[in-house]
Symmetry: C2
Subunit: 456 residues, 2 copies
C-alpha cells in the first residue's frame, strides 16, 4: 500500500465502521498488513479503535499491537477481555513487549506483565533491567540455540519444534555445555549440509557478537557493516543472552538519524513531540529542549554587542558599514554550517579517523579560501553598483574573504575538538560555532574598517 492510497483506504474503513458491517470489515482487514492497520488505527478515535481492533483475529491483533506506539498499545490492550489479553501477549514477541513497556509507568508495566506466562514474564523483567538504548534492552530471548554435538538432522528437528516461537530461525546459535556461545549456522547451511554430520563440524566459529551493555547505535553499525540478519548478544562470561534482528536495526538507524537532525537544530530531546497526545504537553517538551540553546545564543549575541560597542564611533560616523553586517554574518554562518554539517556527519558515519582528520581539515579550509575569494569579488562589485563608497566596498570584500575562510576553519575544527574531548559534536557545535563565527567576523570587519577609515 502506497502512501498516496492511504487516505482512500482510511475513508473506506471509516465508511464500513459507520455502517457497522462487521463481516465485511473483518474480511477487509484480514487481507491487510498489520503495519497498515496500525496506521489506520492511529487516525481513529478511541471508540472506533476498540471496535475495529475487536474484529481482528488473535494473530493479526498481535501484529497490530506490535506496530503501535506505547500509549495506543496500552489503551487498546486495556480494552480487551482477559482471555484475549493473555492470547495476544502470548503471541507477541518479547522484544516488542519490552519496547512498549519501556515507555509506560511502572505500575502499568506490572499490570501487563501479570498477563504473561511465567517464562515470558521472567524474561521480560530481566530485559527491563538493562539500560534504555542498550543491546540488552533491545534483544529478544526467543532465539534458537543448539548444542555443538548435535547432528544436523537433530538440529533441523529441534528447529521445527522451536520455529513457531522464535523471532528468527535463519541463524541457529551453537553453545557448549556451559551455554557459552561458540558458533553459528545459518538455516541455509543446515539445509544444504549432510544430515549425519555434527553441528560443530559445520558451524562458523568466526562469530560477530555484541555485549549486553553496548549502545544501540554500535549494534546498528555492526549489523549494517557485516550485513547480518541478526546479531547475538552475550554477557561478560560469553553466555548467549539474546539476539537482535535486522528489523529492529532498521528502526534504530532511522531513529538515530532523526535524533542527529534534532540535535543539529539545537533541540536534542524531542521524542515527546511524537508520542504525547495533548498539544500543551508537546509544546512544553519542545520549549524545554530548545530553550537552552537559544539562551546560549543570547549570550553569544550579547558578547557580539559588547564587541561592537567598541566600534560605536566608527559605526556612527559610517552608518553604511552597518548595512553589510547581515550579509557578512549570513555568509559566515552559511559556510560554517556547511563545513560543520559535513564534519559532524563524517564523524557520525565514522568516515573521520586517523589521517582522515587532517584530510578533512585541509579540504574544508581549501574550499573556504576559494569560495571566499569568489564571494568577496561578487560582493565588492555589487557594493559598488549599489553606489556604496569605494573604500567601504573594499573593506566589505576583504572582510568577506577573511570571514568565510575563518568560518570554514572554525566549522571544521569545533566538531573535531568536541569529539576529542568527549562532547557530542552534533549537540554542542551549532550554537558555539555560530557565536564564534559572528564574533570573529565582526571583529575582522570593524577592525579593518576602523584602521582603513582612520587612514583616510
Amino acid at each position: 500500500m502506497r502512501i498516496v492510497k492511504f487516505y482512500e483506504i482510511l475513508a473506506e474503513v471509516e465508511a464500513m465502521i459507520e455502517s457497522n458491517d462487521d463481516l465485511k470489515l473483518h474480511t477487509y482487514l484480514e487481507n491487510m498488513h498489520a503495519a497498515d492497520i496500525s496506521e489506520i488505527l492511529e487516525n481513529l478515535d478511541e471508540a472506533d479503535q476498540i471496535y475495529l481492533f475487536g474484529l481482528l483475529s488473535d494473530e493479526l491483533a498481535t501484529e497490530v499491537l506490535e506496530e503501535l506506539n506505547s500509549e495506543d498499545f496500552s489503551s487498546l490492550l486495556h480494552a480487551l477481555t482477559y482471555e484475549k489479553k493473555v492470547a495476544v501477549l502470548d503471541l507477541m514477541s518479547q522484544d516488542e513487549i519490552v519496547d512498549k513497556l519501556s515507555d509506560l509507568p511502572e505500575n502499568r508495566q506490572k499490570e501487563i506483565i501479570a498477563f504473561l506466562d511465567f517464562e515470558d514474564a521472567e524474561d521480560v523483567k530481566e530485559l527491563l533491567v538493562y539500560e534504555d538504548s542498550t543491546a540488552g534492552r533491545l534483544m529478544t530471548k526467543d532465539f534458537v540455540s543448539i548444542q555443538k554435538n548435535y547432528t544436523i538432522y537433530y538440529a533441523i528437528e529441534t528447529l521445527r519444534a522451536i520455529a513457531p516461537d522464535a523471532e528468527t530461525i535463519y541463524y541457529v546459535y551453537v553453545t557448549d555445555d556451559q551455554e557459552r556461545l561458540v558458533g553459528v549456522i545459518s538455516l541455509r547451511e543446515l539445509i544444504v549440509s549432510a544430515p549425519n554430520r555434527t553441528v560443530s563440524s559445520v558451524m562458523n566459529e568466526n562469530l560477530i557478537t555484541v555485549h549486553v551493555d553496548d549502545d544501540q547505535e554500535e549494534v546498528a553499525q555492526i549489523v549494517s557493516k557485516y550485513d547480518l540478519l541478526a546479531v547475538p548478544v552475550v554477557d561478560s562470561e560469553g553466555i548467549l543472552q539474546g539476539i537482535i534482528t535486522v528489523d529492529d536495526v532498521l528502526d534504530i538507524i532511522e531513529e538515530e538519524a532523526t535524533e542527529d537532525f534534532y540535535k543539529f537544530a539545537g533541540s536534542s530531546d524531542e521524542e515527546a513531540y511524537e508520542h504525547d497526545t495533548t498539544l500543551k504537553v508537546r509544546v512544553f517538551a519542545s520549549i524545554r529542549s530548545r530553550l537552552p540553546w537559544l539562551i546560549v545564543t543570547i549570550f553569544g549575541g550579547l558578547l557580539s554587542a559588547s564587541v561592537l560597542a567598541y566600534f560605536e564611533k566608527t559605526i556612527s560616523a559610517n552608518a553604511s558599514l552597518a548595512l553589510f553586517m547581515p550579509l557578512l554574518a549570513g555568509m559566515g554562518g552559511n559556510v560554517g554550517t556547511q563545513s560543520s554539517t559535513i564534519t559532524v556527519r563524517n564523524i557520525a558515519t565514522h568516515e573521520i579517523e586517523g589521517t582522515g582528520i587532517f584530510k578533512t581539515l585541509i579540504h574544508e579550509i581549501s574550499v573556504g579560501l576559494i569560495v571566499g575569494i569568489v564571494c568577496a569579488l561578487i560582493v565588492a562589485v555589487a557594493a559598488i553598483i549599489m553606489e556604496t563608497e569605494y573604500h567601504i566596498a573594499i573593506i566589505v570584500g576583504i572582510s568577506m574573504w577573511a570571514n568565510m575562510s575563518t568560518a570554514a576553519t572554525i566549522g571544521t575544527i569545533v566538531p573535531l575538538v568536541f569529539k576529542k574531548i568527549g562532547v557530542d559534536p552534533a549537540v554542542a557545535s551549532a550554537p558555539f560555532i555560530t557565536t564564534t563565527i559572528d564574533l570573529t567576523g565582526l571583529s575582522i570587519y570593524f577592525t579593518l574598517a576602523t584602521i582603513m577609515l582612520a587612514g583616510l
Copy 2:
C-alpha cells in the same frame, strides 16, 4: 572488531606485509570478516593492496571486492590473473557487480562484463539499463522462484539445488505458468509444512511488491515498514524481475540520511567528496555543490543591505541600535532552523500528512511565541544591565519577540509550501528561510526604532 581496535589490527597487518610472512598473513586474514579486510585495504597503498589481496581465497576475495568502492574494486580486479578474475566475478552477487559498474566509465563496464559467464552478463546488462537509484538498478536476479503447483517436498529439493547461487533463500517466490508473481513462502513455512502439500495451498498471496521504476527511498520505506528480509520487484505485467534484500536497504537508509544532511547544509551533491582520490578533484566538487547556495545567500544579504539603507539615518543617529543586530539575526536564524529542521525531518519520515500539517504549524507557532517572550525578557534586562538606554532596551525586547515568532512561522511554512509545489524542502529551505527571516527581522526592528525614536 570494534572501531577502537581497528588501528591496532591495521598496524599488525602492516608489520606482516613488511616482513613478507605470506602464510601467517593468509591465516590471519582468513579469520577476518571481509568488511574488516576491505577497511584495511582502503588504508594501504596500491602495491600492498595487490599483494594482500593476492593472499585471499577466492571466496574471501569476492566478499572483499563486494565491500570496496567502485574505484578500488576496479583497480584490484584489474591486477588479477584471467582465471582469478573469472572466478571471483562468478562468485560475486549480481546486484553488487551492477552497483560497482554503475560508477565506472562505459568502456571499463564492458571490459568487466566480458569476464562474466553468458547468463550473468545478460542479467547485468539488463540491470544496468534501469535508472540510477531505482528498484530495477538495485535488485538482483539471483532469487529463488518455484511454480505454484510444486509440492513442498519438491520445493525444498529445488531450493537445495539453487541455494548456493541465490542471494537469499529465506523467501521463495511463487509464480504461475506465465512467470507472474502470485505468492511467497518463507523458508520457515516450507520447513514446518507437510511435504506432500502443494505450494499454492501454503503460500501467502498478500504480497508486498515494488515496481522496477520505484525510487530506492520508497523501496527502503516499504522494507522497513513491513519488516521484510527482501522485497520482490515486478514489472508492469506483474512478472517477477528481481529481489532487493534488507542489507541493501540498510545501505540506502544510511545513504539517504547522509544526503539529507548534505542537502540541509546547502551542498546537495557531494558524493564525489568520498570516493575521488585527489584533493583537487574533491575540493572542486565541494565548491561546485556549495557555491550556488552561497550566491543565493549573497543576494539575500544584498537585499537586507538595501532595506537597511532606508534606515541609514536612524542608525547614524543611534549607533547603539547596530550593536543588537547580530543578536536579533542570530536568534531569528536559530528559531527558524529549529522549526524548519523538524518540519523537513517530519516530511522526510512521512510524519506530516493531512491533519498533521495543521498540527505542526500550531505547535511550532506556539513554541515560537512562548520562547520569544522568555528570550525578549532576558535580552531587555541584559540590555539595561549593559547600560543601554531604556528605550533601546524596550525596542530590542519587542523586536526580539516579534522576530522569533515570525521566524518560527516562516521556518515551518516554507518547507511545507516547497513540498506542496514539488520542490525538495531539504535543499531549498535553508537559504530561503535565512534570507526571509533576516529581512522581516531587520524591518521589524528598524521600523519600530524609527517610529519610537521619532516620537521622543
